[in-house]
Amino acid sequence: AQSVAQPEDQVNVAEGNPLTVKCTYSVSGNPYLFWYVQYPNRGLQFLLKYITGDNLVKGSYGFEAEFNKSQTSFHLKKPSALVSDSALYFCAYPWSGAGSYQLTFGKGTKLSVIP
């Protein structure tokens, strides 16, 4: 089955340090991949997506993600973490079936940025 996985339930990083939230995929062909962020008691917000082309994708709030085909990864990164980045992050894989387009989400990674 095609899927995405987030190997870390929680990531802690000090404010000002670089952060990485990991995502690996098991998808045939050339995958499309998304990252979303969810702040407490809020809906998900779209951060960025990889479709094709440049392996480094830039998104909202200073986040970027690197698509690595050889390692089947799509890690989310930010050079300098802010306390306000503390949230739940989801990697997702879009696919089509039965006349609709759907997203398969990873289980989520809770990011805590420590002041």
Partner: protein, 114 residues
């Protein structure tokens, strides 16, 4: 620009009572619409999706149902709530045409069944 609304924001209901959650989208037409449930602040479970008025697909057997009476309105219902129906319910929409179009989420409804 497009916006998506959900109401109510929070709801506390007794076991066995009915449920109706509403989602509306503004600023677009003929969107795909989705209902998700999120338990314990973690993974999302797709409950229903709709590609058009009156067209509902269910992903998992459950105590819930969905309807799409208008192009930009999506309703999640139950005749009798169970304790296990508690959770955070999210509505989302996406454009119909490409599978790399992102989904846009509403603010969610926190449902507590007592």
């Amino acid at each position: 620009s497009q916006t998506i609304h959900q109401w109510p924001a929070t709801l506390v209901q007794p076991v066995g009572s009915p449920l109706s959650l509403e989602c509306t989208v503004e600023g677009t037409s003929n969107p795909n619409l989705y209902w998700y449930r999120q338990a314990a602040g973690r993974g999302l479970q797709l409950l229903f999706y709709s590609v058009g008025i009156g067209q509902i697909s269910s992903e998992v057997p459950q105590n819930l149902s969905a309807s799409r009476p208008q192009d930009r309105q999506f309703i999640l219902s139950s005749k009798k709530l169970l304790l296990s129906d508690s959770g955070f319910y999210l509505c989302a929409w996406s454009m119909l045409d490409y599978n790399y179009n992102e989904q846009f989420f509403g603010p969610g409804t926190r449902l507590t069944v007592l």
